[in-house]
């Protein structure tokens, strides 16, 4: 589904991502872990076209999206969340989801006028569905900026769904969540998988990653140091060293 081929991104002298290779298969939950500053967010930014790579290739669904603009990667079927929550704070929860429906399907020229005016009845009922899915139905008219932290994280995931993606890239969706919220997120990720959506999960909360992912790649200093199933990764010496080396993040 998503093929990363010898992908590199240098910021000046910093090799944020260094000849990275991995493939996410259709329908799986793929974990991307590593110490702080190991290049996880940069990888997400490269895939979603925030900036072009220094070298390498990104293939999604058989299509080369290496240098595609963000809105093009979304049309291709990739939606994302941000590590530092990014919402339209002056818009309501409902509006944040409503305006996020921008998939290639939504954009068909024949739908353009209805899209500009407010979308079809179907589009609006889908917003209700995302509200329900993320347990935000009672917050629909609240400004996104007024939500509690956990609610904002949920809204980000719901918004990614609103784009009807084939794949979502979640950048630390559990950061700052309590146990119960993490458990709910775990269930939501499984629900995504059940819907056939491929997930790339960047996460620091190890119990979640080990619990929910099918396979994991581990980064350190922009390079992949291990790849495998959760149990393989847990017993991998290089991974243990990398995490111990950064005094257990």
């Amino acid at each position: 589904m998503l093929e990363i081929k010898t992908l590199s991104k240098h910021f000046g002298g910093v090799r944020a991502v260094d000849e990275l290779d991995f493939t996410v298969r259709q329908g799986e939950i793929f974990g991307l872990i590593g110490p702080n500053g190991s290049g996880k967010s940069t990888t997400v930014n490269l895939v979603t076209g925030i900036f072009p790579p220094t070298a390498g290739e990104i293939i999604f669904d058989g299509r080369d999206i290496t240098t595609a603009q963000p809105h093009v990667t979304l049309d291709a079927g990739i939606a994302r969340t941000f590590q530092n929550i990014r919402l339209f704070n002056n818009m309501t929860v409902w509006e944040n989801l409503w305006v996020a429906q921008n998939s290639a399907e939504d954009k068909k020229a024949t739908n353009l006028l209805s899209r500009w005016m407010g979308g079809s009845r179907k589009a609006k009922s889908q917003v209700e569905e995302y509200l329900e899915f993320s347990a935000l139905a009672d917050k629909r008219d609240e400004l996104a900026g007024n939500l509690a932290f956990g609610e904002q994280r949920r809204l980000e995931v719901a918004r990614a769904l609103a784009a009807k993606p084939k794949m979502v890239l979640l950048d630390e969706p559990a950061a700052g969540m309590n146990r119960e919220e993490v458990r709910a997120l775990d269930e939501r990720l499984r629900a995504l998988k059940a819907r056939g959506i491929t997930v790339l999960l960047v996460e620091h909360v190890m119990e979640l990653v080990m619990e929910v992912t099918d396979r994991i790649a581990v980064l350190n200093f922009g390079q992949k140091i291990a790849e495998g199933t959760p149990s393989e990764i847990q017993n991998n010496q290089a991974v243990k060293d990398a995490y111990l080396g950064t005094s257990g993040d």
Binding site: M91, W116, M117, G118, A135
Partner: protein, 312 residues
């Protein structure tokens, strides 16, 4: 109706168009110091259409708006890579170029024994369509105000629509808008073109109310004012720029005892507001609160739904 009042209301109408054009760009996050160029293009182009070509103002309106949208769209394309201050400076430079071009342009033809057409810094006169058709100041005011009502209505429609939300998302967080599939470049050019057309509408009415316009009417002060109107009145609703215009023209200019101090009062108002209400009086949060208060009075809140067990 009192003549003074008629002229004030006509002015409020005319200047609200350019305020709305600056407001539309502010929504998309751009500060244009150049909307006076399209006001000026609107005044000159429509004046040429009616005074030189002898067409009616009703024909001049769509032609002029198209011409303004086209030139504004070109400016939008040329400046698309410029952000923030650079965009502001580029728009200002463009507007000054337009003004100087008007100063340097003389193109007059003899019509009924009179020389008619742009005449450098002497401007463009004899825009007599209203006089020739016996449209009195009072009637002209109604033409302006009704057109304004229509344009405001379209703005309200846009603000409730997805298109309006898309414009706002670009202004709020351009990168986020882009990652949500919004082709920011295309929408920005569209907004610039639309804003140019709206500003030109103000110029059309200004020219036909005044019958004579000068290049100096479209200097940078007009651009600064049109920006300030939205920033004072608020960026949460299209009523914001209208409120700004009413405060300035309706109050500061019309009330005699502030006359001498108008610019000082206006500058002070802008400064104070920018500190305490950076997005104006009717900003997004206040508008949201008003909307919610209005809505709960009208309808019961939807019953709290039980959550999907997998989601709670």
């Amino acid at each position: 109706m009192d003549e003074h009042l008629v002229s004030i209301l006509t002015n409020i109408g005319g200047f609200t168009f350019i305020a709305l054009s600056a407001y539309l760009l502010l929504l998309t996050g751009e500060i244009s110091f150049g909307q006076q160029a399209f006001f000026g293009i609107g005044a000159y182009f429509s004046g040429i259409v009616t005074a030189m070509w002898g067409l009616s103002m009703w024909a001049a309106i769509p032609l002029t708006m198209l011409a303004a949208a086209f030139s504004a769209g070109l400016v939008g394309i040329i400046t698309i890579r410029l952000r923030g201050l650079y965009f502001s400076i580029a728009t200002l430079a463009f507007a000054e170029m337009v003004r100087l071009a008007l100063v340097g342009t003389t193109w007059q033809v003899k019509i009924d024994g009179e020389m008619i057409g742009p005449n450098g810094s002497e401007g463009l006169g004899n825009i007599r369509w209203a006089l020739d058709n016996n449209i009195e100041a009072n009637d002209f005011m109604w033409i302006v105000l009704i057109t304004l009502a229509i344009v405001m209505g379209l703005f309200f429609l846009m603000e409730r629509s997805r298109l309006g939300s898309i414009f706002r998302t670009i202004g709020a967080d351009r990168l986020l808008a882009e990652t949500q599939g919004i082709n920011v470049t295309a929408y920005k050019v569209a907004a610039t073109a639309l804003a140019g057309a709206i500003a030109s509408l103000g110029g059309i009415f200004y020219a036909h109310a005044q019958t004579h316009v000068y290049p100096e009417n479209f200097d940078v002060m007009l651009g600064v004012h049109s920006l300030a109107y939205g920033l004072i009145g608020g960026l949460g609703t299209a009523l914001g720029p209208l409120l700004g215009v009413i405060l300035d023209i309706g109050f500061l200019e019309a009330v005699e005892w502030v006359q001498g101090y108008r610019m000082i009062a206006f500058g002070g108002l802008v400064a104070v507001l920018l500190i305490f209400m950076p997005r104006g009086i009717l900003d997004e949060r206040r508008v949201h609160r008003l909307r919610m208060a209005f809505r709960t009075r009208k309808t019961e809140p939807p019953p709290a739904k039980t959550h999907d067990p997998a989601a709670s």
